[in-house]
Symmetry: C2
Subunit: 331 residues, 2 copies
Amino acid sequence: VTREDGGQQPSEGEDEWVGGLLARLPAHRALRVPPGHDCGAVSLGAGAGDGPLVVGTCDVLVDGVHFELARCGAAAAARKAVLVNLSDLAASASVPVAFWAGVVLPRGADHALFAALAEGFADVSREADVACAGGDTNVADGPLTISVTLLGRPGPMGVVTRAGAAPGDVLSVTGALGGSLDASLGGRHLSFTPRVREALALARHSVPHAMMDLSDGLSRDLPRLCRASGVGARVRRDDVPVHPDASRAGGDARSPLERALHDGEDFELLVAHAPLSEDTAAALRAEGVALHEIGRVVGPEEGIRLELPGRATAPLVAKGYDHLRQAARRT
Amino acid sequence: VTREDGGQQPSEGEDEWVGGLLARLPAHRALRVPPGHDCGAVSLGAGAGDGPLVVGTCDVLVDGVHFELARCGAAAAARKAVLVNLSDLAASASVPVAFWAGVVLPRGADHALFAALAEGFADVSREADVACAGGDTNVADGPLTISVTLLGRPGPMGVVTRAGAAPGDVLSVTGALGGSLDASLGGRHLSFTPRVREALALARHSVPHAMMDLSDGLSRDLPRLCRASGVGARVRRDDVPVHPDASRAGGDARSPLERALHDGEDFELLVAHAPLSEDTAAALRAEGVALHEIGRVVGPEEGIRLELPGRATAPLVAKGYDHLRQAARRT
């Protein structure tokens, strides 16, 4: 995946810009989960009371940023556009139902490209058991752009958000991290399995206090969960599960651990939860849900730090992908 | 609005490509209104039975195609991206509730552009009383691209679609057509009022059998409604309400009527309905809803024709905007 240094850089990062945007948006009586989490949620009821809740999330993928069309083909790009939204919806422990897809074709696109997009949408629709409920197609002088908005209904715990983590909570991830973007390793970021099943199992056992998916890298995403919850975090460096791809990835001299901490597009869930009882842990294992404990939630004044062997700690500095700053160079 | 002849043309038009796409999509038990109408609708229920219905629509707008950023600014572009979706939702006679916005900024975009987008979203959110429930922001080497998915709940008649028109029905439009795109006239396409109020009034009086919004021009959109309903149509040429902008628009030698028939982006509703009783007509007038009768629905074998003065008719040939073919040159 191409994510090169842009020419002119915005002076602030993504979170600051988006934070400014969110502050300008008016409140609305229908909003149950406002923007700023992996999913928003709104009440469909007519009055001020509670109506049925719909959960939604939107992601836009662009050729040259989130996939390379010439390498992966349009079907894989369309699939990924739905998969990343499934991952966001999983982070809210919701049940996916349907998506809308907006496509901008590069001028001169032929019918084969369009047909491959359709095939990708159809395939992922079947695999994930979600309906394609509509879309829009345009042609413009630019890269292939695929925007997907995915809707769902709340799962057994309602809508889980990034807020809700409290000091004393355990921090866990649902799988190993790092190296997802390396194309020579097959590009896990194109063909991952969104953790929908795992999230719903966690919700059935009332596990998550707060949750998000790891799309921009642990070091960039964890601070977002901490900010939303008003907490700090300690990550035990040696407990971070490192994906085999992180050892095999080329392109630069970073260590596998560095890749696990800072790479993006792992699409594993980051979960804050109470220490698991033996019963719950056994039940989750029986359902095939892996929770790798990587640290704990602390007070906000303690910041976000990495625990090194011995008693030393170091700040966990965000090096994950910033969509606006785009200062991170990836392999 | 720039809509020039592309270099390489797809060999088929938008409707054929999209039709092929829709044919590939798998059926899904949640779908209540499948893709192919102005809005889709899905049941949020867990089982096969009926759960709460959510109505949704998605439109993607691109700089140089649907707006000219350098001329109109980012706030107007963001507003338009929500307005066009409100128009689609109006066509289903639904009540708008919330939208998600996905934005691709051109590389090098400064914070002022981002702030203007935010202002546009905030303004239209207040004006239309809809929540912004989330979004996504990216940077890429391409034009400013704004994708909006808008959700709503069904109105008094449930979800009105393009299907349902029957021979004998009257065809009406909610306002005058033509000249919307002429930038020298202020660009009505950027600042129209979506017919949400009118659509809900029509639904309260059980008027619409079928409905759609006129975004690509009457001559291109009417055949879509006819195809979805399995009918033909007669349009009385001299009853088509021509907008004053259609007389004042420059750029080519087309007559005001030609502009009214073939221009796009009027965002008026096209309604098929039974002949109005005097009571209903009076009630609609009292609520400030204008219905201009322009023709009638006939059998499918009669095709789609324009009635000229006297007894002559002529085929109504689509010259509206085809997003894939892009053969229409606009002023």
